[in-house]
Symmetry: C2
Subunit: 350 residues, 2 copies
């Protein structure tokens, strides 16, 4: 573990008092120019950044953990928060929820804020835009434990709690094919988020195995700019065009909802003309028209497991959580939206 | 405005140094017993509680606001958060979201935490259990501006942003009666939350006006212990019993969703046998089976307006926000779940 540099080590190194160092950083007139330069040079050598706010707070524990999420409108995150809070409450900890709104800049500012002594640990599900983990590295440098849940940053070593996305994508493809689909498509919100890639890869593997994968035509459709109206128009164009898929696996529930809205508007019948499966935890899926087949993540359990690992890191100072890796499988709920119909049966016979 | 008592005013009052006061509070051996007693007596007289954490932090602004909510699973709060965050982002402020999970104890702990210098302002929607505003009074005592949104605590003087609940309850009742209902009911989650009371009162007024209100039978049904399974069973008992209402106005979307699930299970037809209207912002209402009529709050606008008022309080130190009162009207979306059917028409003729 990296040696912790604080104002005391810096003072010891320079054989000066902590007060002198502190005043030097504040550019006090009480300190000579020469001393200030010595302090800054050593701080630079030791890679120490003064943060009086953090140091004053670090003395007392914040008894607070942060949860950083891209959004809460998605039911998954609401449920995951409940799982997190269930654990935190028992420990007597506050839970601060921060929303990054899928923007990397916001995520970075939030993470930096978490690094100022405000919290004792961080649970994070990254944005679609996150292409580096440097900001998260800084938390670890400050010995603030970090756990990824649901959306991880691949290649960065820390604890992770995820679900079996690849298997579920594969299962969804096989299910649609079994029910008569000849040209199913996968609707994705990102070409870089590991969960989306894994779900899409599994889906593609199912198609390849069934001989339905064509290298000429990618079955993955991206809706990366998540503007509701624009996505609505994009989906409308797709399902009313000649290349309409006869089955869709939606990587998130929002895309399935928009697909339903389009189909209702254009009078396209689900499941007769298009079958739908969504990765979703929405509790209203059974009362959709028609009821929606879902691959449902154990959101509460994922939040709970992530939180439990985090507290191991917070409570046991020498316990290394970075190797923790938990996979909590999802459940497939088959409903009407992916049912075989006489129309799809006929197609199969031809 | 109440004069702010801090360690400096206390020191000035006693003609002692701030350091001495501080040491006295820490029961330091450097301070004589007599001085300690003088300090404590004066602190008591001035109603000053030492809070070194707060005072050290208060020197710098936190650039953070808190949003305290009962839950996020409800779409209303997700959307309201977006409205709040849209304003805060422009101001360069962090938004911390705290969930009280409808428990007063948790809400109180959170509010106390907000009072420790962590935030510059608080937006709050109270729990069902909140019967006092003393904890909120403490925030105001510390000059931390507070704005209620959606769920206010009546009788406590501070800024409020709400919707026209009474009118909407009235409108919903009149609509159901117009569509043929003879014994509509109102499903409520609380007998004390102002929003629920106002919605129910408006509903009752609609019934009274139409001569459908019977003093022998209260049309308001309470589901106060919000356990999904229990509520499901309660609703099942009600709609399969002889006193089944022929129309329901649900005070929150969750109750409408459970009513739908019960009707699907028991094969009770909506709207033929029971008509449904819900206070709800759920974006999937049009794809429910059947599509759900909703009274939809402008959740984003409510969050935005509340946030704008809060920032007036934060930025203009002498600006009194406690008189601000904004009502943002809701919109009624008539869909299939409350449609007149031949069955209800027949009833009307009889």
């Amino acid at each position: 573990m990296k040696k912790k540099i604080n104002i005391k080590t810096l003072a010891a190194e320079l054989n000066l008092s902590v007060a002198t160092i502190s005043k030097a950083f504040k550019d006090s007139h009480e300190i000579s120019k020469a001393t200030k330069e010595r302090v800054l040079a050593m701080a630079s050598t030791l890679n120490y950044t003064p943060n009086p706010y953090a140091s004053s707070l670090r003395k007392r524990k914040s008894n607070t953990i942060a949860v950083i999420l891209p959004e809460v409108a998605d039911n998954f995150f609401s449920l995951a928060i409940n799982g997190i809070q269930a654990v935190a409450e028992k420990k007597g900890y506050h839970v601060l929820i921060y929303l990054s709104h899928e923007k990397f800049d916001i995520e970075k500012t939030i993470v930096d804020d978490c690094n100022s002594g405000r919290v004792d640990g961080v649970l994070i599900s990254i944005t679609k835009e996150t292409k580096t983990a440097e900001h998260i590295q800084k938390l670890q440098d400050e010995n603030i434990p970090v756990v990824f849940f649901d959306r991880e940053f691949e290649g960065f070593k820390t604890a992770r709690v995820v679900t079996n996305d690849y298997e579920c994508g594969y299962l969804a493809a096989k299910h649609l094919i079994e029910k008569g689909c000849k040209k199913p498509a996968f609707f994705s919100i990102s070409s870089s988020l590991p969960i989306c890639i894994k779900r899409a890869d599994g889906f593609k593997a199912g198609l390849i195995e069934s001989g339905l994968y064509s290298h000429k035509k990618d079955p993955i459709v991206y809706f990366t700019d998540f503007n509701q109206e624009e996505t609505f128009n994009q989906i409308k164009k797709l399902v009313t065009g000649k290349d309409r898929p006869d089955g869709v696996v939606a990587s998130v529930e929002k895309l399935a909802v928009i697909l339903y809205l389009v189909c209702h508007e254009k009078n396209i019948k689900i499941p007769e003309e298009i079958k739908v499966i969504a990765f979703s935890t929405v509790d209203t899926a059974p009362i959709f028209n028609p009821s929606l087949s879902t691959i449902t993540q154990s959101a509460f359990e994922i939040g709970k497991a992530a939180s439990e690992i985090l507290f191991k890191g917070i409570e046991k100072k020498n316990y290394d959580i970075t190797n923790e890796y938990v996979v909590i499988p999802s459940t497939f709920f088959e409903r009407k939206s992916s049912q075989q119909t006489s129309a799809s049966k006929e197609k199969k016979i031809k």
